[in-house]
């Protein structure tokens, strides 16, 4: 075997294993009380992802007829936003810009104590253990996180010029995967980063203009009604966001909201001509 490959083989096959003390939040149902269960996770390969570590733990629990730890997951490649738990006080754990499913055990050390909890917010009721109900986000999306496209022939792509800056900026906001870590890390359980990203991605583009004011007012109202807290500009969300959505989107949402209020209360009643944008 060529030495380069041999070294690689040795490195990957002789993975370090970790013995960890886990403190996992267990809660049988939405209305039940919860507690931290202490579980010893032994011989965890450092190449395992955080969710694979929980899979190993669950396998052991199942083998002794225990109740496996319930947690949300889907793609396991950092793109769907389904996974998410609070690891040592930080949603998605200690590595910046990384989802729980993409967090690897090599980030931790042998003998570490790891606290694992669900996202905590009134608007995200716990379903079981680490699984929470994030349908509040769906309601915010339904209130304006879309553009209305009438059917008909697709128009020529060049008929609608969009600057590269606007397109890039919109894509930055569109990176949000709707995981909810921003709410979980916010001291006030505010959903401003999520809402701002989801409104901002459309508000940046010409296609988003006709419904801009309606979108902003609708999404903010729904966000408030869902029981999320109010943003106090502490920027914990930005630090916890696995997609590094910046708080500049919050500033933009604040600005767009003010414009929407002015439009809705002053301009619209006296009949501004043309579209809403």
């Amino acid at each position: 075997m060529p030495s380069l490959f041999r070294n690689f083989y040795l490195k990957t096959s002789m993975a370090r294993t970790l013995n960890l003390h886990l403190k996992i939040w267990r809660q049988p149902g939405p209305d039940a009380g919860g507690w931290f269960q202490e579980i010893e996770a032994s011989e965890i390969p450092e190449t395992a992802s955080f969710l694979e570590m929980l899979d190993i733990v669950n396998q052991k629990l199942i083998s002794v007829s225990g109740d496996p730890v319930v947690f949300d997951h889907d793609c396991r490649e950092g793109i769907c936003g389904t996974c998410g738990m609070v690891i040592n006080g930080v949603p998605h754990g200690p590595q910046r810009g990384t989802t729980t499913c993409q967090l690897h055990m090599r980030t931790f050390n042998d003998g570490d104590t790891i606290w694992i909890e669900p996202f905590r917010a009134k608007a995200f009721p716990i379903i079981k253990d680490l699984m929470v109900n994030r349908s509040g986000f769906d309601r915010i999306m339904a209130a304006g996180g879309f553009i209305s496209v009438r059917t008909g022939a697709a128009q020529d792509a060049n008929a609608l010029p969009i600057s590269k800056e606007a397109a890039d900026s919109s894509m930055d906001a569109a990176e949000c995967i709707g995981c909810g870590a921003c709410v979980a890390s916010c001291k006030n359980a505010s959903a401003m980063l999520f809402t701002a990203a989801k409104a901002g991605q459309f508000n940046m583009l010409p296609q988003g203009q006709p419904e801009k004011h309606r979108r902003v007012l609708g999404m903010v109202k729904t966000m408030d009604e869902a029981g999320f807290g109010n943003c106090t500009n502490q920027y914990e969300c930005e630090a916890a966001c696995p997609k590094r959505i910046g708080v500049r989107w919050i500033s933009k949402l604040n600005r767009d909201y003010t414009l929407a209020v002015v439009h809705d209360t002053l301009l619209a009643p006296v009949g501004k001509g043309g579209g809403e944008g």
């Binding site: 903010v220 106090t232 502490q234 500033s251 949402l253 909201y257």
Partner: protein, 233 residues
């Protein structure tokens, strides 16, 4: 729904609207604090300068000016305090279950203690108004001096006497430290809440907020210390 009730519902009835009102009233109060400090620094220009300034404020617009300012400031304070208390209560309610392992990534200490520093300041404002404006429990109202042949209030002596009693000075210094902390988050936060900050200006606004807070603290604390150490007497 009439336009007015609709506008009120969209502002006072929404998270962003309430925050915008907090930011605007906060801006007025922060501006006032700067003007107030500059006026007070006239103490270093001698008794006549500050007494004349005090007299000017009292007699501006035939004595109406001071009342316009008072009513305006009172209104801003009431809106600022009522809305922030309400927002804070909503924020507490939004996180009913606490984390077993509580961590903070990048929130500053001053941003996390806004309600505490704010309510301490409210208590201080009440005390400060009783001390120098309503002059409860002291004879400051009788302090008079002559300026350009006219009987005016002796603001200079009032300040010297006011800060010569050390417990009062200590409370003033503590309150100024609270104000410093409050402003260092509040001022930059204002730009974000009003949607004026962009990635390019965010760092600048943060610096401006801290510099503003340090300036207000430095200026005001300097007056108290100057009286205390008898640099002015």
């Amino acid at each position: 729904m009439s336009t007015l009730t609709h506008a009120v519902a969209l502002t006072v009835g929404s998270s962003i609207g309430k925050k915008a009102l907090v930011a605007v009233t906060g801006a007025v109060l922060a501006g006032f604090v700067l003007g107030h400090m500059i006026g007070n620094l006239l103490i270093f220009a001698g008794p006549d300068a500050i007494n004349e300034y005090g007299h000017l404020l009292q007699t501006m617009l035939h004595g109406m000016g001071v009342w316009v300012a008072r009513i305006g400031l009172l209104a801003c304070t009431v809106v600022h305090v009522v809305l922030t208390v309400q927002l804070t209560r909503e924020n507490r309610a939004a996180r009913p279950g606490r984390y077993g392992y509580d961590a903070t990534i990048q929130a500053t200490r001053s941003s996390r203690t806004m309600i505490f520093s704010g309510l301490t300041l409210l208590a201080f404002i009440v005390y400060h108004l009783m001390h120098f404006t309503l002059r409860v429990g002291n004879e400051y109202a009788t302090y008079k001096t002559t300026l350009h042949g006219e009987q005016v209030h002796d603001v200079y002596r009032m300040v010297i006497d006011g800060f010569s009693w050390w417990p009062a000075s200590v409370f003033y210094l503590i309150a100024m430290a609270m104000l410093c902390s409050h402003l260092s988050h509040g001022v930059s936060s204002m730009f974000q809440t009003l949607g004026l900050s962009t990635p390019r200006t965010m760092g600048t606004f943060r610096m401006v907020g801290r510099a503003y807070a340090a300036l207000i603290f430095g200026g005001n604390a300097f007056i108290v210390l100057a009286v205390w150490f008898k640099w002015v007497h």
